[in-house]
Amino acid sequence: MIYFDNVSKLYNDGRSAALQEVTFQVDPKEFVSIVGHSGAGKTTLLKMIIAEDKPSHGQVFFESLDIHQIPRGKLPRYRRKIGTVFQDFKLLPNKTAYENIAFAMEANGRTDEEILENVPQALALVDLDDKAWNFPNELSGGEKQRVAIARAIVNQPDIIVADEPTGNLDPIATYEVVQILRKINDLGTTVIMTTHNKGVIDELGRRVITMDEGRVVRDDANGKYIL
């Protein structure tokens, strides 16, 4: 589903590299965690998938599509196939939880009927029915992240990309978020997640890709957090 083919990313100075000759594949319905120290290249990797960053060498494919050959005008359409979740939530501050989720559907050109039906479902999935009309600054960190996840899944994307989704959360909220991601994966959506959290990795018991200095150093099908 996602295929990195010998991807390198050099910084502007041309010497230091964020990624070096990275090659791996993610199959449909997999739950892949990417671990590594800060600066190991995890976030750069995810940015390549959502076409926020370009490789210096190599190619990244989404199914048979070379992501970095997509014309700029078609990028919004491509991004709608991917749900994104970030450490800092990235919610629209002037919109309520409900509106944040609805916005992703509006941007996708969904009908009002679909929005009326699907947004409450997404809110129910992350257990936030009662906070639908709160603004982000009225929500806790864990609640904000659950809104972000609801927004990411509401368009039924093929894949969820989560960059340190538990990085700012306390242990209980972390547990809840991981449970939700696992549930989404069980329902058939591919999940790619970066994390620092050993507990999360060990609890999940899924595939783990370990990165160090821009290279893939381990790739275990039933991984543990080893650094």
Binding site: I50, P76, R80, T84, K90, A104, N155
Partner: protein, 306 residues
């Protein structure tokens, strides 16, 4: 398509309302810009009218000798009126000239006595000639002087052409008018440009605060038009509201200024404001909308480029 427009409109209105302070600041700045544009319009109008009034006071007078034949006077009068540079010719007959003289000197006993001593009316007929532009007086004067010189010495028709006496005043006035028109044009252009720059920068700052939002919208796959639309609508709304506020400020200002301009410039600004209300309303509202809209489009474009 219709759903898209509806959503953009709703997002625009909600954005306007929820960012009330930013909206208020933008409206205020556009209002100031419109005030500059409106004042420029009014000042320009005042200048034009007062210059026209001044120009109307400049003329060349042709004095005929008292015993000139009426046919000869009429010939010159018609010839002058036919000149392309001449806008109007006013004929004053000998009798009228005398009546004006009597009226003007009715308290001057010596003048009245002197007049009574004379058997005949000592005054000749005269023409007051106005040109379309002050710069054209010279050629008209030259034409009249040629006419005078053509007539035979024994039988003169034109006694005097007073251009040479007025020449300096007319030349100075011509220069002042030209300079004032140019200078006011430059000052107005600079003011309007400054107003536009300030508006543009304020809206750019307003949208700068929304750059994070724009990047989030891009991440969830919103198309550029879908992101830009609400900001464009907000920009247009700033313009409409600012235009209405500017008019509401101009109205009492005009009521107050009207009599003052009437006495000073012989032109009532309030009457001008009322009789050209639709035009002024259109200019202010139109400039406001264009200012807000273009500023928004340019400011958002920055964050949509990459």
């Amino acid at each position: 398509m219709l759903t898209g427009i509806k959503r953009v409109a709703r997002a625009g209105f909600i954005g306007f309302w929820r960012n009330a302070y930013v909206s208020l600041a933008s409206v205020f700045v556009i209002c100031v810009a419109l005030f500059v544009i409106g004042s420029t319009m009014f000042i320009d109008q005042l200048l034009t009218v007062s210059l026209k009034n001044l120009q109307a006071k400049v003329d060349i007078n042709v004095y005929f000798v008292p015993n000139a034949q009426q046919t000869e006077i009429d010939a010159i009068r018609n010839a002058v009126a036919a000149l392309p540079d001449v806008s109007s010719v006013t004929y004053t007959s000998r009798e009228e000239a005398l009546a004006i003289y009597r009226d003007r000197n009715k308290n001057d006993e010596i003048a009245m006595q002197a007049l009574a001593e004379l058997d005949d009316n000592p005054l000749g007929a005269n023409l007051a000639i106005q040109a379309n532009q002050t710069s054209q007086y010279e050629s008209i004067a030259r034409y009249l002087e040629e006419k005078r010189d053509q007539a035979s010495a024994q039988n003169p028709v034109i006694d005097d052409v007073n251009y040479n006496q007025n020449r300096e005043a007319i030349d100075t006035l011509t220069k002042i008018i030209a300079t004032v028109e140019q200078a006011s044009l430059v000052v107005m252009l600079v003011l309007i440009l400054a107003a536009i720059m300030i508006t543009f920068n304020t809206i750019r700052l307003a949208i700068y605060t929304a750059r994070e939002e724009i990047s989030i919208m891009r991440l969830v796959g919103a198309s550029n038009m879908f992101i830009r639309g609400p900001f464009m609508l907000q920009g247009a709304m700033y313009g409409i509201i600012a235009g209405i506020i500017a008019l509401l400020i101009f109205y009492p200002a005009m009521v107050w200024l009207g009599p003052h301009t009437e006495s000073f410039f012989e032109f009532n600004l309030y009457n001008y404001f009322i009789s050209n209300f639709t035009y002024i309303f259109g200019i202010l509202l139109g400039s406001g909308i264009v200012l807000g809209l273009i500023s928004s489009i340019l400011a958002v474009a920055r964050y949509l480029r990459t």
